[in-house]
Symmetry: D2
Subunit: 360 residues, 4 copies
């Protein structure tokens, strides 16, 4: 259960990290959206491993296949099935973990939940599962852009304690893609890259914060009460591997202000109701207000490390785990397209929901 | 839309702040759970306004009525309908806001979404909506305790910049309830109360952080991928009025650690697989691991203030809003039972889901 | 579980036949639909008991209350909560059934499922539950009429073996309401009334068929595959108490034709693609084609009878049940507004879904 | 939308008849169910075209691939992705229908709904979509048998006006599979086969009725109100291509009885509460009562015929369609495993739901 996300736009992902492959079924996408395989592949390329020395060297081309739902370059309104075959599956690399629970991985909890797990890789807990999200997100991103001109840009804001200063109102995808870290602050990006290599050299890992902005989101998206726009965004982002926190607008820092400091005054600008500042992060009462939607996502340092760790095995013995292998010392650069995809999926879902009840 | 929460345990809330009343329908509660009206009322009393000079003086007794689903002191397995009538509705107090959008409230966004709104109060965006959540949460809390011994305790951890130091492993409800602020650190609670009164005196407001722990949660709850336990908790908590951020376990701070510092080593304790520390916050790979589940929730300072504010009206004129009235200078003390309720609802939902597929 | 129906328009009903009351929460209704309490009450009056000597003499005024979701005569887009208090609850009349399972009622199955049941009446299995459906259906009917001119008319087509001949293309509500049986064939209606009285006199009951037509339904409603329009209609209608069969268009009789006899040729009429006949019943491939949607619903004879019946009690003893009391010898006349309501709810749900993805 | 079915057990099908392939994702299947590819293939073989001269000669091996969710012969509790590649796709055969709406097919309604359709085959309206249902049904069937000993047997009860007499209590799968028509009455099966060949020779088609029984279903499955067991079965079956009617137990015929004739008296048998007869069809108040669940499903004659038919084209011209080709003169023999699959899926869904709330 729990492999489907969204209400009006529903994606269902499937696949283990080391099995036939991984994929997604997208249901609810309106008909006649023009989309090419290349547009989807472009996003997957940003997510795939082996892009640089900063990420895992796992070799996966992650070539996407379209199995259904498109016809002559357009969506049919029927389910869009996309998949990627697993190529560089090396189950033997996982043999040491067959009976041993890797600390802070999902090995133990899967065993506790299911009484069985595919130990040849991370199973569903693997970041490989996010391939389906990114592929579906490419559709959502395209649709949002064509209908509303929505732009979604995520970037690495902080690695370990190295924080970049980035203007959410103006940052561009080109700036983000201009370096391997995906931090638009080029100077800080270099330091971050160094820090990541430092972690890698020690068989250790570092985490940080990815920020994301959605611009040109029309006012009126989001459902009051449980399906508030920020609640669904929080769910989508918190469901990504390694995420431990999500905040919108002023977030945790905003709690240090008083109400009179925090409130966003309204003004008329170009005939539109606008706010003078954006502590709200583009959402009020769970509904978008037309301002930029800004979120920050905390990624813990990756659990896969190559230092000796105390743990236990399936038989209940305490053991020391001293694995060697390849790992991703910092997931943040690859997390950027995934965060963008989740934001796109939530926004498109709510845009479709709003169309159903729109003012007549 | 969006007024239903949960999958196996589903609650649907209804009601505006100033209409007939507010209520909740709980579907999916197993039969034969013993529960009394008093047990539900007890939680509502912790949430209701007018408890002290620290909250809004709105007078509402919030007496709950059970309309269906119980019989001779036990649940029937059928929908449980609970409601509270609105008593102290003073629509005239809202007349100034009929055409004027209060900054950082949902007035403008409701208008943008629906083209209509009940201006006689906060409508669905009012904290009054949470009555249904708290009432339903009382059922969930009881069920979780009877079946697993689960204890859920929330407390005010920070008001403005005043931070209490509280041990999540041992804090008790009695400690929380020992003062009006609901901060178990009595010394800090006094300072917090002062700060809240200071804000009130100025017609201003303050925010802060509520922390919550769930103890004795069995391992195995939570669904991998989208319905990860932390994702659903994040959604539930982010859907509360005024919440701008949610974190679990090490949260945003944890991103300053390396993987080797952050990972939670496993050990055997009393024949159980346990972790030596709990940066994970009780959840790994989206599934509970048997440790304490610990979350922190950021509440912005309340939007209702009584200082002059720049805004616009429905007709597109810029105006200055200078309202007087009664307000809640700090929602945190009353938010404590609401946060507990949301955690209880998510945990019970996942416990029921787990029972469906449990190891056989 | 299972107390919610619909996807884009969701209704949740609650209430036992003998408890506080019964009600419904309607979520997803677009804002600014004008609707009055009287329009809702009108439909409830057609459903309520005690209308004539042909139905149960249970005295219930079934006065509906609007608890939320309306403001100044229009819907707000928020949940609409409607309820009716139970008045004529006579639990003592049910005392004989406290431990005895009435044949073909839900007494035994509720006990098997839940291990507890409210024996003071039919609980959720009571036809009283349909009050919420009819109230919600009044909203759907109004919305469908205002937006598309949709007309929904149901009627009693057969009582026992007495079959009326009615033209689905032209039958009007006025004709249906012109007699107590709700059969537009006045001559047959008299015979049917006689047959119902005959059953009543013997403490027995009769069943039959209710037919329903929806006219002016736009082409394009319904989702291929599982949520085909006829599939959702079948579910909605089969979920009514006492229903044992549903058919659309040619139904079971149509299976006696060959394909060349059964297929509905297309023609152009008034610039529209139309079919020359309507064996399809207005639906092809799960999607409305603009023709009249025609269904027939089989209602078994009511289970409540006053003849001696063999049964068993909770303790496993075989006993003879010889109850006396009041009963509804034929549910069909009162089922007419309920059938209409279910059709309206399904159609509005699908109309909203279609609006989300409509051709742009 | 509408490509997902079920709540606790959820299947999502995808794929057009002439595209990459067709498949299904099964979510919610409990872990550690032993299942082999062969068991799934076996059911697909019963469904596939080209089995005999009675069905379409389309050549499809329909070899299923397991892409995820199984490990060492057991389910993992994660999504099970199954697919079949399309092989014998002959889009050229569909060229005549590119702009012409085939009568009683979904060509026109898809165009009306989506403004686009994959004319190279029946798209999602093709019976090929049911491959995913049958594959998923094989899992459900296995699970139901292992846990409760449930047996599900469907058969062809009527072809055109040729009705077989079959005892639902004793009919076996072996009897059903003993002839090409899948009618356990061997004598009648021969006549039916003749009738089907007669239709085929004329380029015409015939319909009929498939009956199905589920034996050993435990009492207590099904949710009162909207998700009644018979309501969900009706939805599942009515969602199959060509189905125009569904009935349970006494069905339409039962409406000719009085209540005293129709009611099923209870007795004690082998220490169990049982009914003396089974007009209820195994379900009372929406919940299974432990008796055999018996349904009948009306399939209209296939729409694909090779006689001249009046229709219109996309441009609004009236045209005569005189197609030649291959077709399935009677879908009933191949519908048998599909009907069984749908029943299995609904029953397993409800069994899982019941486990969540089961008496404790």
């Amino acid at each position: 259960m729990g492999n489907t996300f969204g209400r009006a736009l529903r994606i269902t992902t499937w696949g283990e990290s080391h099995g036939g492959g991984v994929g997604v079924v997208v249901d609810g996408c309106p008909p006649r959206l023009p989309i090419t395989l290349e547009e989807i592949q472009l996003e997957l390329n940003r997510r795939r491993p082996g892009q640089s020395d900063l990420t895992t060297p796992r070799q996966e081309e992650d070539q996407v296949q379209i199995l259904s739902g498109l016809f002559e370059g357009q969506t049919l309104g029927t389910p869009i099935s996309l998949m990627v075959w697993n190529k560089d599956a090396r189950p033997e690399a996982y043999a040491p973990f067959k009976d041993t629970f890797r600390p802070s991985h999902a090995d133990y909890t899967y065993e506790a939940k299911y009484g069985i797990r595919n130990w040849m890789g991370g199973g569903r807990a693997s970041a490989r599962e996010t391939i389906g999200r990114v592929a579906a997100g490419a559709l959502a991103r395209k649709w949002l852009f064509l209908h509303y001109g929505v732009e979604i840009v995520a970037w690495v804001e902080r690695v370990h304690d190295l924080r970049a200063s980035v203007d959410a109102d103006t940052v561009t995808r080109e700036q983000v893609e201009s370096n391997l870290v995906r931090c638009p602050d080029a100077h800080m990006a270099e330091k971050m890259a160094e820090r990541i290599r430092w972690a890698k050299d020690q068989g250790d890992s570092v985490g940080g914060v990815v920020a994301v902005v959605a611009r040109q989101v029309p006012a009126g998206l989001g459902e009051p009460v449980f399906d508030k726009l920020e609640a669904e965004l929080a769910k989508g982002l918190m469901s990504l591997p390694a995420v431990k926190g999500v905040e919108i607008g002023s977030g945790f820092e905003g709690t240090l202000l008083t109400g009179s400091q925090h409130n966003d005054p309204f003004e008329m600008r170009d005939g539109q109701v606008r706010t003078l500042k954006n502590h709200s992060g583009g959402v009020q009462g769970g509904i978008s207000n037309g301002e930029n939607i800004v979120l920050r996502v905390a990624f813990k340092p990756t659990s896969t490390i190559f230092k000796a760790q105390q743990t236990v095995d399936k038989q209940g013995h305490e053991v020391v785990l001293e694995a060697q292998g390849r790992h991703d010392p910092c997931v943040l650069p690859r997390a950027v397209p995934i965060v963008e995809a989740m934001v796109a999926l939530v926004l498109m879902d709510h845009a479709l929901r709003q169309r159903a009840i729109a003012k007549e």
